[in-house]
């Protein structure tokens, strides 16, 4: 690896690390259900980026496969969570005294 790639790699890792931490902050902060789902979806995306970067770093295509699988599979959890929130919404509509929105699924 040349110095250019080396530096770019380091910078990229730093940026991805920061992205992970910031995305996670949103996951925790919420405040509503969709916010957390967006955050997790994006964290998976950053994971994909990390896998691709690692593939580039090591030259092992196995990590590219990882990125590929993640790209396909992470979608499933997002779908499931979205369905979950929809169901929460439907249930709230039936509830006489729904809980506060940031505790909508309690």
């Amino acid at each position: 690896m040349t110095a250019l790639i080396d530096i770019a790699m380091t910078a990229s890792w730093v940026m991805l690390s920061a992205a992970f931490l910031i995305g996670f902050a949103r996951l925790v902060r919420g405040p509503h259900l969709p916010d957390r789902i967006v955050a997790l979806d994006m964290l998976a995306l950053i994971g994909i980026c990390a896998a691709a970067l690692h593939a580039l770093e090591t030259g092992a295509t196995a990590y590219l496969d990882l990125a590929l699988v993640m790209a396909l599979v992470s979608f499933l959890s997002t779908v499931a969570f979205a369905r979950y929130v929809e169901w929460v919404a439907f249930r709230r509509a039936d509830q006489a005294n729904p809980p506060p929105l940031d505790h909508a699924d309690d």
Binding site: T58, A60, A62, Y63
Partner: protein, 119 residues
């Protein structure tokens, strides 16, 4: 980095134990999922870590490079992950059905098999 991961494993296990002490069965199962993560990671760490290369024999070579990661713990963890998944998914379905049949997911309210009255 092994020691750092060892401490992470400890944190995962602590959290898992905390969750498993809950009276809420679903929380307990979240704890088990967490415990599974911790334990799998611990096996991985116990087999020592390598950043250099995955245990894939490079095309044209016969023997894995010396710096490549130890493959055995990876195989073990892979088996353990899948097994843990089997157990957890069964348990989750059980939680669902337990709620349906017993009307609660709180284990301290589940008193059918061991009723309050009989010692």
């Amino acid at each position: 980095m092994e020691p750092a991961l060892a401490i992470l494993v400890g944190i995962l296990v602590a959290v898992a134990v905390w969750l498993m002490l809950s009276r809420n069965f679903v929380r307990l199962l979240l704890g088990f999922a967490m415990l599974g993560n911790g334990v799998n990671l611990s096996i991985f760490v116990a087999g020592r870590l390598s950043r250099e290369a995955p245990p894939l024999v490079v095309e044209g070579e016969v023997v894995l490079g010396a710096a490549a990661a130890n493959a055995l713990p990876q195989a073990l963890v892979l088996t353990a992950i899948v097994i843990g998944f089997g157990l957890l998914s069964f348990a989750l379905v059980l939680a669902w059905k337990a709620h349906e049949r017993l009307g609660t997911v709180r284990t301290d309210e589940m008193r059918v098999a061991e009723p309050e009255r009989t010692p």
